[in-house]
Subunit: 396 residues, 4 copies
């Protein structure tokens, strides 16, 4: 495995050197006033990335999984009813966590490759006359299947049903890469991590709470200390933390949000879309299909590519690692062996993306797929050429 090649896993991403350096800082006394100059801009930056005016943002030395647990334990009590859809490995895991914390789950099974079924959600919510459902879960981007769900649609389902349930969204592999509108979509808790759109090492759970979610904190009885946002909020109010913070990662998060906001969130999203379009053009040129069932579901941060019958998709990933020193993502759970994944989020250039496409192409040919070398690259090149913003001579 060469550290000179880009990685194409759907996170952790390739890290810009500036962010690695921001995260790799010398020891700073986290009880000194300098810590505030890192902490508050990082929290404010996240809030802007979430497109929220009202959220309270909390950052824990943890991961997105810890973020899920923060959401649940701070707002719910054992036996509380939660509506969720299972359409991939990460929605599955959040459901599993709920179960282990004694929540009463109403689960909608969906195809791995489908989005969150907003119509079915609406039916269930309408049927819940007594408003027993406290929380609705939705995974914005199913990293396992490369499926982007319609969170605005989930909000409409709630509104159409006139249901007061809270809406908790896993935005781990979308926030910072794809459009996410916490306030506009009425998201009550948004969960993400440092190692995806923020382009940092893993190690931070990043969570935004709406005022409505904050209002649950005192009555929720699920036990928590490490993830208790009351201690965290008290710390922040004092420019501090309830325990030793991961200062370097917070410093990285501060810079990451500056970078995203300076580039402009819409530009960031457009950039991800461009890169993803190139990958999708390559998939099409190869005669393959995505796991995502329809174009409206295509994720701009990861593509899960179906391999033909008779081939184990995981072989492509192993082969890429062993022979070319390149990391792709394997299929997980129900789609294990059926898909391989190309992560294309974070700080990626056309040139880096092309090297990933070229490598996937070689691997597929090596293991016997009927793919023409250069075909996917050419399709992606065409996309990238046409969308650089550069006025081509041929067009002049």
């Amino acid at each position: 495995m060469s550290f000179q090649n880009p990685v194409f896993i759907p996170g952790p991403t390739n890290m810009p050197e500036a962010l690695r350096r921001a995260a790799d800082m010398p020891t700073l006394d986290h009880r000194s006033s300098l810590f505030a100059e890192i902490l508050h801009p990082a929290l404010d930056g996240v809030k802007q990335v979430l497109k929220s005016k009202t959220a309270e943002v909390f950052v824990f030395p943890s991961t997105g999984t810890g973020g899920w647990e923060t959401a649940l334990t701070n707002t719910l009590s054992a036996g509380d009813k939660v509506l969720a859809a299972r359409n991939g490995m990460f929605s599955h895991r959040w459901i599993d966590m709920c179960t282990r914390h004694g929540l009463d789950m109403q689960i909608v099974e969906a195809a791995w490759g489908a989005g969150v079924p907003t119509d079915r959600y609406e039916e269930i919510l309408r049927a819940d006359k007594n408003h027993e459902i406290k929380v609705v879960l939705a995974t914005h981007n199913e990293t396992a299947t490369g499926v982007k769900s319609d969170i605005a649609g989930v909000r409409r389902a709630l509104d159409n049903a006139g249901h007061p349930a809270l809406l908790y969204v896993d935005g781990v592999s979308s926030i910072g890469s794809m459009d996410f509108r916490m306030d506009e979509w009425g998201v009550d808790i948004a969960v993400t991590g440092s190692q995806k759109g923020f382009m940092l090492p893993a190690g931070l759970a990043i969570i935004g709470f709406s005022p409505k979610a904050m209002a649950q904190v005192e009555t929720a009885t699920l036990p928590r200390t490490f993830f208790d946002i009351r201690d965290m909020a008290a710390g922040y109010a004092n420019n501090a933390y309830p325990y030793t913070p991961a200062v370097g990662l917070l410093n990285g998060l501060k810079l990451a949000t500056e970078m995203l906001l300076n580039e402009g969130l819409e530009n960031v999203f457009t950039r991800h879309n461009r890169i993803a379009n190139g990958v999708r053009a390559a998939v099409n040129a190869w005669g393959l299909t995505l796991c995502a069932q329809s174009p409206d579901l295509y994720s701009d941060s990861v593509s899960a590519i179906m391999t033909p019958e008779g081939f184990n998709a995981t072989d492509i990933v192993s082969h890429a690692a062993d022979v070319y020193g390149v990391a792709f993502g394997v299929g997980l759970g129900e789609v294990a062996g059926k898909v391989f994944r190309i992560g294309h989020l974070g700080s990626l250039t056309d040139v880096m993306a092309l090297s990933g496409i070229a490598t996937a192409e070689m691997c597929m040919v090596d293991i016997g797929l009927d793919i023409q070398l250069g075909s996917g690259v050419a399709a992606a090149q065409e996309v990238y050429r046409q969308t650089t913003g550069y006025t081509l001579k041929a067009a002049a």
Copy 2:
């Protein structure tokens, strides 16, 4: 605050550049086989540092506080009885966590400056005829007071009482700096973090479970997912993690354990003792006393120094930060304003220690204490000169 000066907080410590670089690694696919080459040596290295042959070691992207929660939630159920002593801020916080998780606490209040009262523990354990106490907590090194407690003595209390309770030890600011004998002392769970004796950035909870502690995991009903060691163990068995690991920090932990073991644990402890002796000689020369009540309690990783009546110890810390760019530790909780702390753990040289002592000296004089400039430095210099291992000419 100059980043060129050493820090003298009791963790995070000054970080050797080799460890910063190990932690600051490029993105590695944590599902690749290379991850195993980081994970297992790190776990094995920790086990050796714990002086255990039988412990299972778990490392979470979290902090020592998360380590406490891991210990509790994986082995206990609401209402379980726990014996603990409160003799400082960190023992207090662990007790607070127990309470918030619904455990039935039997608390022994001790002076802030005293050690864990092993005699009192023994009395209570003897009195607990029905063995209702499931777990005994002990804080090996109270970072707030600079007090090292006698864990072997706690074990004797249990044994003398013939009590089967499990022994959980907070070794956050002792492990890797002061002698810790998990097997010999019959410690069932040992908790530490990355940012103290391991000289790394904060961000890892490091926990060792004895076989006896492991045996509790299936019956314990406190809810947990992020900190569930069953998921973690299943991950490790597969050279993986249940979620995205902090690969860089694990790589740093691997190197940190190599560094400690290559130096030799006893040499590491002797080195900490030497440095601490210099600091204590300075304190004595200043005519001041430590918060720790007697020499057997003196911590080799942090000294909490009592300031005379009429002075606010926190002023010394603020002044050092503002005027000299040096970070000391403030007093916490009951000893706030009464002590300031010099952390002297991790990778510290005589020369660095002397600069801390010299700075403390200037600060104390600046705020009006009757201290002679150079007096503490001279006392520490004498300690360091006599113990370098160098055969002095004068002695030849």
Copy 3:
């Protein structure tokens, strides 16, 4: 210009992170004994890379140009006669330096794209009955044209002519990337720098002197101090330098030689040849030709690619930088505007090379060349697939 993309200039190369870190070291007292532990292994390592048993190696804080000057000023006097061939920009510059130092130049003009004309050298040397020619210059790899000359052939020319002239070779862009045999080829002075095959930042001139070259040092009268190898040799004998050394770069050089020797020089050369073959296959697929006149002259460290009539090759380079953030090399001197150069030396992977080829392809299409997107990539992919050492399934 993105720092995430590889560079494809013919030096400075892409730097492995390990070498960047070795070069970026904290201040070390260069008069301490630790300096010897860096200096001598670095010098010895270079000697092995030069394939010499007898050379004395000198390393100056300078560049290859300084290495040329070291060669001349330490062994020659004003008016001394020197034979040289001009077949590119770098051979031209060395000749210019000779002239400016008052040497009497006999210059053989050769086509830019041709190698050193060994037959013509032999004629001239045979004709020089009085052995007035003191030194013969040869540029092993003309970086400007991507032409590798036959140094063994130059040695044969000297031997066939029975001529005692010294042979000085510019190996700046060959040593460490392509086979170089100082002793076997009877090279008297070999010159290189840190930023090519050694994969380091620019900043070191690296020079090997044969015993025969060393014998000239006392009688040579060209003035020199900074580049005087006598001061340098005296310094080395004392584990020191005549002035402040670039300790970090020397530390990097030590590690670079270790990396090259651990990989095995022949493996390093084969790797460069593989990568270069892929680039050349792409050039062929594009229907273009190299500046190098024949396959025996093809350089494995840089390819200078001729663009068709009517196109300015420099536009490709500008376009790549402006639109795709990728650095290629422009044509220099006589071939300015006629060629663009792809550097493929140092630590490059197949995957990185493919991204360069894909980018060149897009640029050529963008500026209007009749090139098929993906065609060069496909040709290179085929080369890389067939030569990975991996047994392909299709072949099984």
Copy 4:
């Protein structure tokens, strides 16, 4: 040797992390337009540090020694007459270089510990009726003896004598640390390097030429190519270099000048003076004396401290390195064994300086000098306390 301790050699200095990072940059195409954004600000920054409006600044991948050679070879011809004083190792070496380049030296011998003898210079210049002396050399700060000479005084000597000779000043260990006024003092060539006041790794020769010096370039006949400022100037005019530049170091130089100018040059000089005053107070407390003969000669960048009869000063330096891992400077040339040197230039804090003083103290006691531990530290503490700018409580 611990890399955690500060170094106290008179350069290379302790490097701020920001400068190490600026210097450690990824490969940038030095023929791209981005290079100009590094080069020109670096050159302009140096000009401001030199306090010159009219100088042309040149930066070579070399060292201060190369800077001396640049000065000589670009403006002089063999046989030209040069006036110089020898009062330490570095003035000696520049004289030696002149001799080796065939210049006709008129040397004024001065005590090692004395400054440049401006009166004697004036006499000689007055006596040189035919103005045969082309150049006067002066070493602003003799690093070997810790002596700062009076460059304004040398200018007055020239002016008083009505002599048109050029004035070349070695400011290697003064520029960026002590006041240097190129225009006001009529300095024609100023020479320095990257590893002193600029706090960077060694590897750059930095030279400023006055218009008068520039006017000599075409007529000077000393051979040069690498150090020819005409090639360098032509390169700069084209945003380029005549050969491969040390891009990272130039990037570091750009940032170093920004840091110095943002702090304010006068503040930088005051800071050096404060730190030096502390060291001198310690020397006085030890009952020792400086090599510099009188207070007006005391250098603010390095102190050369005389050891009493019967002690070898070099033992102190070896002992510090071996036992305490701290680097001081040995005595060189005539003062070898008689002095040891504490470098106190660059980015040094009070706290760092105190650790050096404390270490020197231990070493002197260890080898048997009659020094009281803590005495020098106390004297320096008093200086630092009184000059922090902080209003002491005692004084309030």
